[in-house]
């Protein structure tokens, strides 16, 4: 059966109580390191069971990127693979949209907004998926 609300492409992209999407980080209560994805132990300071779930602000800065021209068969290229430092801590990788795939048009450190959009794909059961993208802020 098709699910009423779209699924999310990664487990840390979540629906809040009001039905809007957010990125769930886990912040270490001891050292402040932020991780995306479920975990109970901090790999930076090794402290256990002191991870607080936090809603990460959907913005950050471009840390590094590459322009992917050759990918797996069937994947449309070129696209920009980007690593973004998320405001408040932690980093994500994803696809940067809204900028031409040309190094002259991409500025290191540029402000990024993280948007939540339909992935444009369905799985074999016909389920829709929501994903996150990076766009220039």
């Amino acid at each position: 059966m098709q699910s009423p609300t779209p699924r999310t492409v990664v487990d840390f992209l979540k629906y809040g109580e009001d039905g809007s999407l957010y990125l769930e980080g886990h912040r270490c209560r001891d050292c402040g390191a932020v991780y995306f994805g479920r975990r109970s132990t901090c790999s930076k300071c090794f402290s256990r069971s002191r991870m607080d779930a936090v809603a990460a602000p959907p913005r950050g800065h471009l840390y590094a990127y590459t322009i992917v021209h050759r990918s797996f068969p069937g994947v449309e290229t070129p696209f920009i693979h980007a690593v973004v430092d998320v405001e408040g801590g932690g980093a994500l990788r994803g696809t940067l949209l809204g900028v031409p795939p040309d190094p002259d048009d991409i500025e290191m450190g540029m402000p990024i907004s993280i948007t939540f959009e339909d992935a444009g794909q369905t799985d074999r059961e016909g389920n829709r998926y929501m994903t996150y993208f990076f766009r220039p802020a």
């Binding site: 990664v10 992917v68 050759r70 994947v75 990788r93 696809t95 998926y129 994903t131």
Partner: protein, 381 residues
């Protein structure tokens, strides 16, 4: 504890062998290394075998099925692109511990063509292109751009690494490619992932390499001191926590950690190294590792290649074998093949690509996950 020596080593010419099995090419390298040491498989007390893509298939035992079933212990190991170096280090640990006096280390791999990486499908849809990319070139290209961000490294500087390593491979009869590849050819080849073009990506080839390790007592008993090469340091690290490591694998921090430990264990500084075989899986990676191995100051890697300091005949020759970029990169064999290369120079047997007067050499590999392995080797008298 005893010192550990390499008394025999060899590799097959890297290439594509669709009609041969992994154990078959591994057996060939094993016999070549035994011949180089003047020994038989009957002399060997343990076998350490590195292979990644058939990690569950008892490749080591199947090599013995082909060259001699002596009943010795066999350990098969897989450790990403550090697999071969890991097998070598297991052999080193064995001799170092005093357990055995003679062991054989073999690395063998057969590669498919094309991109390495995984097109994982969480909950049923492909994330390739959606959440960036999962290909190997993507990782090392992004790391190159991180270097560009910090130090202004140019596309041409990255490309010159490939020109150099392809040039070196013209002097190596065991390299997959042996063709001069000028800068304009490197730059005009297909862009894979900016700034790495196709000619700035390592070559997927089949290959094997092997080394016989011995204790000091055994080397003297066999009268091999002089041609034997001493292992001055063997170090492995994994990736320590750094801010971006989980989304952008950090091969620099684990390499720096390993390099510091290796120089300390060997009791030398980077300026005492005469040649280096480092993990140039992509041209961008070699630039990073110049600094990670302390061959130059931070931020000066681009100038190092511009000045041709890492060419044969330069201040510190790097990848005179042709490197992964031109000799080829059969994952499980690579770590032992670069030990073969450095050993050959320390013995003064490298022919046209000989680094004159080489006394100390360093080998380096990294594997995604991450693993880093460094060995420092020294000529004996």
């Amino acid at each position: 504890m005893t010192d550990v020596y390499i008394i025999g080593t060899d590799m097959i010419r890297f290439g594509r062998f669709p009609d041969r099995s992994v154990p078959d090419i591994g057996a060939e390298a094993a016999l070549l290394a035994l011949d180089d040491a003047g020994l038989s498989i009957g002399d060997i007390q343990a076998l350490y075998c590195g292979n990644l893509l058939e990690a569950n298939a008892a490749v080591g035992q199947r090599i013995l099925h082909l060259i001699g079933q002596t009943g010795i212990p066999v350990v098969n190991c897989a450790n990403a692109c550090a697999t071969g170096a890991t097998a070598f280090r297991l052999g080193w640990m064995d001799i170092k511990s005093g357990l055995h006096d003679l062991v054989l280390c073999v690395g063998a791999e057969k590669m498919g063509k094309g991109l390495i990486g995984s097109d994982r499908k969480p909950d049923g849809i492909s994330t390739e292109g959606l959440l960036g990319s999962n290909t190997m070139p993507t990782i090392f290209s992004t790391l190159g751009m991180e270097h560009t961000r910090k130090w202004g490294t140019t596309l041409e500087q990255f490309a010159r690494v490939s020109v150099k390593n392809h040039h070196h491979s013209t002097l190596n009869p065991k390299a997959m490619y042996q063709t001069e590849t000028p800068l304009e050819d490197v730059l005009s080849s297909e862009m894979i992932s900016y700034p790495n073009t196709k000619l700035m990506c390592s070559v997927n080839v089949d290959g094997s390499a092997a080394a016989v390790l011995a204790s000091e007592k055994k080397v003297r008993e066999l009268g091999l001191m002089g041609r034997a090469v001493k292992v001055r340091a063997s170090v492995m690290t994994s990736d320590p926590y750094t801010e971006h490591d989980l989304v952008l694998p950090d091969f620099s921090t684990c390499t720096r950690l390993a390099a510091r430990q290796a120089y300390e264990m060997a009791g030398i500084g980077p300026d005492e190294v005469d040649l280096v075989e480092l993990h140039d899986c992509f041209a961008t990676a070699e630039i990073l590792h110049y600094e990670n191995l302390f061959l130059c100051e931070e931020g000066e890697a681009g100038e190092l290649i511009d000045r041709m300091d890492t060419y044969l005949g330069g201040r510190i020759p790097v990848n005179v074998s042709g490197g992964l970029l031109s000799k080829g990169h059969p994952l499980g064999a690579t770590g032992i093949a670069n030990i073969y290369e450095v050993t050959t120079h320390l013995r003064g047997e490298a022919g046209r690509r000989q680094v004159e007067g080489a006394r100390i050499g360093l080998t380096h590999v990294v594997g995604l996950g991450n693993a880093c392995a460094i060995h420092v080797l020294e000529k004996t008298d």
